[in-house]
């Protein structure tokens, strides 16, 4: 399964007037493609903070003490606000708890939906162009280096450059064709929806501005002619002509019958046109550019596709793929060789960062050298970016900065605190009213050192693993993947988002999220929507830019049961359809059962249990999960609820040992002394409780939970039978 996001050793705290609140304490999470990860916990457990860190909207008083959030070769904790604009909404989207406060009350829904699409469209075009050129050049260089053998370099270079030029030329041609096709296809679609509305209005005998609508349709009809949408030689032109005359008759006499008949005929033609499969324009680009006898008009699309493929493969593509493969192989091998030396150098550099007190000059120098050789070892041609290597520079530099700044700042903070405390003491003695001294914000130097060491070790381990796996790499697949990537970028480059297209897409989105009468709703304001509908709009806006990751922060807490289940169903459906990765944050385990693939239960800033949905619900292992499960009634509960006594701990002074110990009736002596590690129960399931230690007494889960699980199992057996 493809890994989307990796959260590693994340620690976040907040600077407040009464001290630093440790909101997230060393958590590790991963999110795969197409799955839902639920984070469950009570308020203040750090679940929202984690999610907010992912999308870069932490409050300004937050301090990221350590950790990385790796996404697509970037560490989301270290990139600048400017860079984050490319990710927020575009790649990672968020749905908030309260729909009303996340919509602009004085802007029409349609505008709010299309705003991002139009803005992003331009940015996407630009970035696609840049990415295409960069990759293309890298590929070119690699291919030349790979294929050049003693002395014929100039010739090889010429050949390769020629090939790249051909590739560029015909992809451009293909894109032009695709663009023309898209315009015609969209026009046909647009006419169809307009006709639907118009026909239903006429039939219900309540027509409004029929003339204007017909004129729009006629105008739009000019745009549908394209060999693969509405080919020339159909009845379309005649029909539109007749429609024009019928329009006149209608304006004079109000007779609609002729208009209806004509509209229905046009509708039939267009429906057929829209249902047709589109040809492969990438192949077609080559076919029409380089085949003198090319004739694409009036042919069956399937057969044409095959023919074009054969032509392209024989004349160009197979050869090109072979060359690309050589280039990729070369680049990979070069990086691999570099990796070997990097591993050794990393090992050698470790002592520099483990001394009692780090020496700034030496550290900086070593870091610089390390960064240089790590950069050297990155296979730039690889499409799947190696996040650890890519983020090595920013990680290690920011940690070093923190360390050397902290040495100065910690002393300052302590001094300030001392002075303030003295002043307060004095005031108290004098009997004057006074506040309290703000505790110092001390950065743990040892922790920073640990972080640095971890960054190094992790890269080392990852490289070692890559070297072990190097033999089993499938370069054919990589080469094909590369061609696909280039193709995709090239088509994204010409994909312009116009206002009209954005509107069409927005209306489609509104339909997708289940808003009735989207065309009418498009022009309304947020206050005209009910709570559930508003949340749907928020979801539609979150999906407008086609993100890979959707973060839902308690999206249904403000809604009631029926609406809640509608919204959950919607999120589930969209996840399936769009292969989204969803992070779902909630305090209600009942909601999660339906949604999640995996669940992380959080308490006091730590993950206490982590597993698949079946693990958590059918084999819960942590007392906190037990307590959560037993404290909520279900439809068969009769006995007193087992409430969790007390309240969550004050995270300014996190308790020693297990944070849940004070509220835990299964707590042992060790729980108050030492923090439990995450014990692994199975490959997918782990829990942080000393009860899982081999030396711990055996404890059963509470009877309520056990009974309920048994009941659920019985029910299931009954349902299956």
């Amino acid at each position: 399964m493809e890994r989307k996001v990796d959260i590693k050793n994340l620690r976040i705290s907040f600077r407040t007037n009464s001290g630093t609140v440790k909101a997230v304490r060393n958590i590790n999470l991963e999110l795969n493609k197409g799955e839902t990860l639920a984070i469950v916990g009570e308020s203040g457990s750090g679940k929202s903070v984690t999610a907010r860190a992912m999308i870069g909207i932490l409050a300004p008083n937050a301090i990221v003490e350590s950790g990385e959030i790796l996404y697509d070769g970037k560490d989301l904790l270290k990139i600048s606000e400017e860079e984050f604009h490319e990710y927020r909404g575009n790649k990672i989207s968020m749905i908030f708890q309260d729909p009303m406060s996340s919509l602009n009350p004085i802007m029409k829904i349609g505008k709010q939906l299309t705003e991002a699409m139009i803005l992003n469209g331009k940015a996407n075009q630009r970035s696609a162009k840049k990415e295409l050129n960069v990759k293309m050049n890298q590929l070119k260089e690699a291919m030349i280096k790979a294929l050049a053998v003693n002395g014929n370099e100039a010739q090889v270079k010429k050949e390769i450059e020629n090939k790249i030029a051909i590739f560029k030329k015909f992809t451009a041609a293909g894109n032009e064709l695709e663009k023309a096709y898209n315009t015609a296809f969209q026009a046909a679609n647009e006419i169809l929806t307009q006709m639907d509305i118009l026909l239903s209005e006429i039939r219900k005998a309540e027509p409004e501005d029929v003339k204007e609508q017909l004129r729009d349709i006629l105008e739009e009809c000019e745009n549908v002619y394209q060999p693969f949408v509405v080919a020339d030689g159909t009845k379309m032109p005649e029909l539109t002509k007749e429609l024009k005359t019928a329009l006149k008759v209608y304006t004079d006499s109000g007779k609609a019958r002729a208009v209806i008949a004509l509209l229905e005929q046009i509708q039939a033609i267009l429906k057929e046109a829209v249902a047709k499969t589109a040809p492969n324009f990438f192949r077609m680009g080559y076919y029409v550019t380089y085949n003198k006898n090319a004739d694409i008009n009036g042919k069956d699309v399937e057969a044409l596709n095959k023919e074009m493929r054969k032509y392209l493969d024989e004349n160009f593509m197979l050869d090109f793929i072979e060359d690309a493969k050589a280039g990729i192989q070369y680049s990979f091998q070069k990086a691999l060789n570099a990796k070997q030396s990097v591993v050794n150098r990393l090992e050698a550099a470790k002592p520099v960062f483990t001394t009692e007190k780090l020496d700034e000059k030496e550290c900086r120098k070593t870091a610089k050298e390390l960064i240089a050789c790590v950069e050297e070892s990155i296979d730039r041609l690889a499409i799947y970016k190696d996040s650890l290597a890519y983020t090595f520079k920013s990680s290690i530099e920011s940690e070093l900065d923190r360390y050397f700044k902290a040495i100065v700042n910690n002393a300052k903070e302590e001094k300030r605190f001392e002075q303030e405390s003295k002043a307060v003491e004095k005031a108290v003695k004098a009997g004057k009213p006074t506040g309290t001294a703000i505790p110092p914000v001390i950065i743990d130097l040892e922790l920073v050192k640990e972080n640095i060491l971890r960054i190094i070790t992790r890269l080392q381990e990852s490289y070692e693993q890559q070297m072990r796996e190097a033999l089993s790499v499938d370069f054919d697949a990589l080469a094909v993947g590369m061609i696909d990537y280039l193709k995709d970028r090239a088509s994204a480059m010409v994909h312009k988002v116009t206002k009209k297209m954005a509107k069409l897409k927005a209306i489609k989105l509104m339909e997708e999220v289940g808003i009735p009468q989207p065309r009418k709703r498009y022009n309304q304001y947020p206050f005209q929507f009910s709570g559930g509908m508003r949340q749907r709009i928020v979801i539609a806006i979150a999906l407008a830019a086609n993100p890979d990751i959707l973060i839902c922060d308690e999206p249904t807490t403000a809604l009631d049961v029926t609406i809640q289940s509608q919204i959950l169903e919607l999120i589930n459906r969209l996840k399936e359809e769009r292969k989204l990765s969803v992070v779902f944050i909630t305090h209600d385990l009942g909601v999660v059962a339906n949604m999640a693939d995996r669940i992380a239960v959080m308490y006091a800033g730590k993950i206490v249990e982590y597993g698949t949905v079946d693990d958590i619900f059918y084999q819960p292992a942590h007392p906190y999960t037990w307590a959560l499960l037993s404290s909520m009634p279900d439809l068969d509960t009769k006995e007193t609820l087992e409430a969790i006594p007390g309240t969550p701990p004050n995270m300014i002074y996190p308790p020693k040992g297990d944070a849940f110990a004070a509220r835990n009736k299964y707590a042992m002596q060790i729980d108050f002394e030492e923090e439990p590690p995450l014990f692994e129960i199975s490959d997918t399931h782990s829990a942080a409780t000393w009860l899982l230690h081999p030396a711990a007494p055996k404890v059963e889960m509470p009877k309520v939970v056990k009974d309920r699980i048994e009941r659920m199992k019985r029910l299931e057996v009954a349902a299956d039978a």
Partner: protein, 403 residues
């Protein structure tokens, strides 16, 4: 356990709000009883009028029409129904008199010049009209009296109660206030506590309004209820913001119980709380119910909690109660399509079941055909009421018997 004494009786309760040039029928003809000692659950989606019902009972609104009886005494009454009847009576009487007049005219014309016949007819109709007018006066007087009574009960229910008590228990009785016997717990524990008052002031406010001046007694009472709701006396000096959500809700409960009410209206008391804290609050309410013999009207939209906590449940949809039954009965034999749809939406902590769960949608326009006959509340089984017309009633009966 609930005995049969009816503590609160709600009759034809209507609560309309003015809205632009029309009216919003927030609660439209709602009837139910709450028996002493029971927990009565009221569920429905947001905006269906369940909170409004609660607030009408506690007299936060002047009700539009209907009667609310508490401990047998009418504490709230609306005048709209009488006013409408009044209009109607006037109109029919006027029409009748008019018809008499035209008939008289006709008969006089028919009689031609015959004086005796003319006189007889005139006399006959004069009598009829006089009788009609007398009836009208009587009716008007009756209705006007009703309106006066309703207004008096609405305004002076406490005075009436005090007089009654003084008669029964002598002039020195302290039990003079009937409305303080109903107290409310609000949904949002942050918004319902005054941030500038200490917990002691918040809780003691009711006592002070009642006229208790002895500081020592107030302190004693405050500490007593604080302990009752699971807080400690030290908390009395603090401000609401220093507490967690669950503790704030406990303060809200303490404030509600210090006047020793008999009925508590809990308006979504746990919706704003974390799951782990919800259980604490429910357990607390259950304990208090046993200790103090409370009757609770529990308004919520979380059905698993309502099922767990309530003895009887009423399901509301757009200002009307559509189904009412004991909680087991309602969950075992839901009949009204809206109830079914609500029940099918409950999420349960069971992933395998959840993945198969099918939600039933409810669309009133498709589910019912009320063109021929308007629906009313009918009893389908003892204690199980359903809002339907006779055709549907037969269908439901069949459904009931098939199970």
């Amino acid at each position: 356990m609930p005995d049969e004494e009816v503590l609160l009786k709600v009759e034809h309760l209507k609560q309309y709000f003015k809205l632009g040039n029309g009216e919003l029928k927030a609660v439209d003809d709602v009837n139910f009883d709450i028996k002493k000692g029971e927990v009565f659950g009221l569920v429905g989606e947001s905006g269906c009028g369940k909170t409004t019902t609660g607030r009408s009972i506690i007299k936060l609104y002047n009700i539009t029409s209907g009667n609310i009886y508490f401990k047998g005494q009418r504490i709230s009454a609306g005048t709209r129904s009488y006013e409408e009847e009044l209009k109607q009576v006037r109109k029919t009487a006027k029409e009748k008199i008019n018809t008499y007049r035209t008939e008289r005219k006709n008969e006089v014309q028919l009689a031609g010049g015959n004086r005796a016949r003319v006189a007889a007819a005139k006399q006959k109709y004069a009598k009829l009209i006089e009788k009609e007018q007398e009836d009208l006066e009587k009716n008007l007087a009756r209705l006007k009296n009703e309106i006066i009574l309703a207004k008096r009960d609405q305004k002076d229910c406490n005075k009436i109660y005090a007089e009654k008590k003084r008669k029964e228990e002598g002039p020195h009785t302290t039990d003079t206030n009937i409305t303080t016997k109903i107290q409310m717990i609000f949904q949002d524990p942050i918004a319902s506590l005054n941030p500038r008052m200490t917990v002691r002031e918040i809780i003691a406010e009711g006592l002070r309004i009642r006229g208790v001046k002895d500081e020592k007694e107030i302190d004693r009472e405050v500490y007593r209820v604080l302990e009752l709701v699971g807080l400690v006396p030290e908390h009395a000096e603090r401000y609401p913001h220093e507490f967690s959500g669950g503790q704030r809700q406990r303060i809200g409960i303490a404030r509600a119980i210090i006047l020793e009410p008999e009925l508590i209206i809990a308006d979504e008391p746990i919706s704003a709380l974390d799951v782990s804290i919800q259980a604490q609050v429910i357990n607390l309410l259950n304990e208090l119910r046993e200790k103090m013999g409370l009757t609770i009207m529990f308004v919520a939209h979380d059905l698993s909690v309502v099922k767990y906590f309530s003895d009887r449940i009423a399901v509301m949809y757009f200002g009307k109660i559509v189904e009412m039954a004991s909680s087991d009965e309602l969950f075992e034999h839901p009949l009204h399509p809206y109830t079914k749809s609500l029940l099918s939406a409950i999420p349960l902590p069971d992933p395998h079941y959840e993945k198969k769960r099918k939600r039933i949608t409810y669309n009133p326009a498709l589910a019912h055909d009320y063109e021929d006959e308007k629906p009313v509340m009918r009893e389908i089984k003892e204690g199980h009421f359903i809002y339907c017309n006779s055709k549907e009633f037969k269908k439901y009966q069949k459904e009931m018997n098939n199970r």
